[in-house]
């Protein structure tokens, strides 16, 4: 265990170096996260004359800029890597190392976070300026817990990707399966449309699914759409999902690995 932990700083350094090396790719990936801005433009047009529900134009600015920040910070790409490495047998190289492959993936993904923070800083500043100071929560406890919520959101993203990615041990089209996951995410996480604006039952359903805790929960807490009690309760649910997905990812991985035979290796 201790030996495994000692490898983490090195893995992070390697990951960071490769994130810096592929700056151009990183930039392109960044530009492709433009959906919140498009939706912001759209809803601004809708709310130009009168507010929608309790969302005025400035509330939409706050909501979608916060969405962009959380999305930039919680992104992961392990599903594509897993899918490719399982199919092409490249996973064999990872298995040779004395560290759990999921840990090495996690380190590679986390190592890009400093760069992501650098990029999301201007968005955050924009959020503070345009949305006005009244729209960020004043609750010091919630502000202090915000990094924990983002971490929880990242873990759910990463672990869910690991679970679906590990299905590539069994089926050919794990990628298509993940597309469905992304579709559900778009609606039930509040990524496209704030969950409040849906009919009531969609919001209620979203509270029972993991998607809300990947995005809408930290966003709504940050811009003060929900109070302290509700936020603390949801923080508990979020980490509950993290634990369940962690257990699931480990067991799917362990069972799936038995079917893995590195072709040609």
């Amino acid at each position: 265990m201790l030996r495994t932990l000692r490898t983490v700083p090195t893995l992070l350094r390697v990951g960071f170096a490769s994130a810096v090396a592929y700056r151009a790719e990183f930039l392109v990936w960044l530009l492709s996260t433009n959906m919140p801005l498009v939706m912001l433009a759209l809803w601004s047009a809708v709310a130009r004359d009168a507010p929608v529900g309790r969302f005025g134009q400035r509330d939409f600015v706050a909501y979608y800029l916060a969405t962009l920040v959380v999305r930039l910070l919680t992104g992961a790409w392990v599903i594509w890597e897993l899918n490719m490495e399982i199919r092409q047998g490249l996973l064999a190289f990872r298995l040779l190392r004395p560290v759990h492959p999921l840990l090495t993936y996690a380190c590679e993904n986390i190592a890009a976070v400093p760069l992501r923070i650098v990029v999301s800083l201007p968005v955050t500043i924009g959020l503070l300026i345009w949305a006005g100071d009244g729209r960020i929560t004043h609750d010091p406890l919630l502000l202090a817990l915000f990094p924990l919520m983002v971490l929880g959101g990242w873990l759910i993203t990463f672990l869910a990707m690991s679970v679906v990615g590990s299905l590539a041990f069994y089926i050919e089209s794990a990628g298509s399966l993940f597309e469905i996951w992304m579709g559900l995410f778009g609606v039930f996480s509040g990524y496209l449309v704030p969950l409040e604006l849906f009919p009531h039952w969609v919001g209620a359903l979203a509270r029972a699914l993991p998607f809300r805790y990947m995005l809408a929960f930290p966003v709504e807490t940050l811009i003060g759409l929900q109070g302290r009690d509700r936020a603390l309760l949801e923080l508990g649910i979020q980490w509950g999902f993290v634990l369940v997905l962690f257990a699931l990812a480990r067991s799917v991985w362990r069972v799936g690995l038995r079917r893995f035979s590195a072709y040609g290796g």
Binding site: V28, S32, N34, V38, A41, L42, L197
Partner: protein, 265 residues
């Protein structure tokens, strides 16, 4: 002039090869087909939420916006069925240096690479878009006039040409930077905004969506033509713009292919 029948025949051969390939994966057809239907239905959700709040948006009613959505579905079918797959394969060729084999063939290289692969299953998107048109016009209680349908078909050709030219420009970039997988992802993510009528967007987005990446030409103008609201001047401009784009793409392709160094050199 004599060579054109030959290219038509070549196109037929390439298409038959793709069809034969696709026939081998019948289960995939079911999966992809189900996914396509899922996405078509899913894409309507934000539209319904927005128009559930307002009777019209930037001069568009729900039914008219539905026509834009129909064009979006159709063009996405064109993008993912005819444009994306072959250009994905040319990127592979460039990276591995196997483009040599194509350049050696006695036919135009741009023609060969851009007809290399089709995904016949995307016909489902076309069917889906026709269904959407049907619903939209049924709700409006009228039938599009033959003249308007013809104009819309002409604009469909323009839209396809612009989309194809943009793709050639993207692929030309592959001769300069090696990893381009993300660029296709970026293109799809920007194209996603084409599901909304272009007049919804203002300021910087409008500039991006009409000049830099002419999304308006791809979905909004054909929709306007089908609704009979497109004036002749805009139609002529669209035609000229599409031609200019195609010429530009051809010139850039010729320059870019000069930069190609095969694998060994």
């Amino acid at each position: 002039m004599l060579r054109y029948p030959r290219y038509l025949r070549l196109l037929g051969v390439q298409f038959r090869a793709s069809a034969a390939m696709a026939m081998q994966y019948r289960i995939e057809f079911l999966v992809e087909g189900a996914l396509a239907l899922f996405w078509i239905a899913w894409a309507l959700i934000p539209l319904m939420v927005v128009f559930g709040r307002r009777p019209s948006l930037a001069g568009w009613t729900f039914d008219e916006a539905l026509v834009v959505m129909g064009w979006f579905t159709l063009m996405r079918g064109v993008l993912e069925g005819a444009v994306n797959p072959s250009l994905q394969s040319v990127v592979d060729h460039i990276r591995k240096g196997t483009l040599d084999f194509i350049l050696l063939k006695p036919a135009d290289a741009q023609f060969l690479v851009s007809t290399a692969r089709f995904e016949p299953w995307r016909i489902i998107d076309v069917a889906g878009s026709l269904a959407i048109f049907g619903v939209a016009f049924h709700r409006m209680g009228r039938v599009p006039q033959p003249g308007h349908v013809l104009a819309a078909l002409a604009l469909l050709v323009c839209a396809t040409m612009v989309m194809y030219s943009l793709w050639i420009l993207v692929v030309s970039a592959a001769f300069y930077v090696v990893k381009i997988d993300n660029l296709s992802f970026l293109f799809s993510s920007i194209f996603d905004a084409a599901r909304w009528p272009s007049s919804v967007f203002r300021g910087a987005w409008r500039l991006v969506f009409t000049v830099v990446i002419p999304l308006a030409i791809m979905t909004t103008y054909p929709a306007l033509a089908l609704l009979g609201r497109l004036d002749l001047l805009t139609a002529a401009e669209t035609l000229l713009g599409a031609l200019a784009f195609a010429v530009l793409a051809r010139l850039v392709w010729i320059r870019a292919i000069g930069r190609y160094t095969s694998a060994s050199s």
